[in-house]
């Protein structure tokens, strides 16, 4: 009799334990686990966004743009802007600034490509400087490499004309020269084996035709890179005061 009584009591306790366990498991699966899943999902979205923004910041930092503002002709009230994308990512030009006036743009410039934008009307005032700037969609602002344009006595002036050479390179020794029929300056030669791209600029005295030669040392001989020597013409005003030449020496 006594044993039977104890067994009955145990049966009663067992029901509550089972119910308590079921409720605990129910709470675990219907409240706690979904809560953690939602939190985990939010964390995942956040981490994804952080990585996305890091990539965008890297792309922004890798933008390399050279912009040149120049008048259509010596007395023109319109400016043209030549934009050279020397970086590895395509860029989108969203604005051109001429002093405090901005002109909305929507122009894509692919990597290593050049676009000419304009004409942009400017109000000419004697003795005034004009600063040209280019804004990209990623928030970079590039001022005109040619410097400030200056308008006085009814004519435009710019500080300098030049040719800028970019050699895409993994490894090698190079010799760059820029010349024309009457003018043959010394040029530039890398001091040793260079790793990475090489840039060099040469100022020239006057607009006109020039030849750009880029040679690479191969087995003791100087060999011209494919596409060079190449003729370029500086037509400022009416064209950019600075000419970009890009030569590829990577697989050569």
């Amino acid at each position: 009799m006594r044993t039977l009584h104890i067994m009955r009591l145990r049966k009663g306790r067992g029901v509550s334990t089972v119910l308590g366990t079921l409720i605990f498991i129910g709470i675990l699966f219907s409240a706690v686990i979904p809560m953690f899943l939602v939190m985990k999902q939010a964390d995942t979205i956040y981490t994804q966004k952080v990585h996305e923004m890091e990539n965008r910041d890297e792309e922004r930092a890798s933008e390399v743009v050279e912009a040149y503002g120049y008048p259509v002709n010596e007395t023109s009230s319109e400016l043209m802007v030549r934009v050279a994308n020397n970086g590895v990512v395509p860029i989108k030009i969203v604005r051109i600034w001429v002093n405090d006036v901005d002109y909305s743009q929507n122009t894509m410039v692919a990597s290593l490509e050049t676009e000419v934008l304009g004409p942009f009307p400017v109000s000419l005032k004697d003795g005034t400087s004009y600063v040209v700037k280019v804004t990209t969609e990623r928030g970079n602002v590039f001022a005109s490499t040619a410097g400030t344009l200056y308008f006085t006595d009814g004519y435009w002036f710019t500080p300098s004309l030049g040719i800028h050479v970019l050699v895409l390179n993994w490894v090698g020794k190079y010799k760059i020269s820029i010349y024309n029929i009457t003018w043959h300056p010394e040029g530039y030669e890398t001091q040793g084996i260079d790793f990475g791209d090489i840039e060099w600029s040469q100022l020239v005295d006057e607009p006109g035709g020039y030849t750009v030669s880029v040679m690479k040392k191969k087995g003791g001989d100087w060999v011209p890179l494919p596409g060079t020597p190449i003729g370029v013409v500086i037509t400022w005003p009416g064209g950019s005061p600075v000419i970009n030449v890009i030569a590829d020496g990577r697989d050569f």
Partner: protein, 153 residues
Amino acid sequence: MTRERRGLTPVIATIILSAVVIAVGGAVWSYAQGASIVIANDYVNGTLSLMKEVTERFTVEHVSNNSDGSILYVWIYNYGDVDIVVDVYANATHYAAPPTYNFSSTLNTTVVSGGIVRIEVSYQGNPLQIGDEVAIKAHSRRQNNAYSTYYAS
């Protein structure tokens, strides 16, 4: 007879105990669910807010001043994915002897994503003179900053 009567009590006790367990358990379950929803919502809202903070991107794109130097114009470009509210602070140093300092601010300007806004910062005291250095700070309400230095012209 006695055995049958005695047998009822454990059954009733079990039923009552089970009912109490179910009632208390249900209450705890309900509370736990409500609490977990509140905690999850708070966490998600906090994370989304933090996400907006890290995705905010803006820059001082251009600066100029008016001819008498009483107003500074600051163009803020929002190139991020979220709208921003910025406060612009400008601290000018006049290099004429003795040097003087002038501080101004314009608060609470909204710049939508991808947009540009010109913000006017007025100088009530000494106007800007040519060559004055102006340190500009654009501060967003999500605690991000963009800086620029401008020389009055």
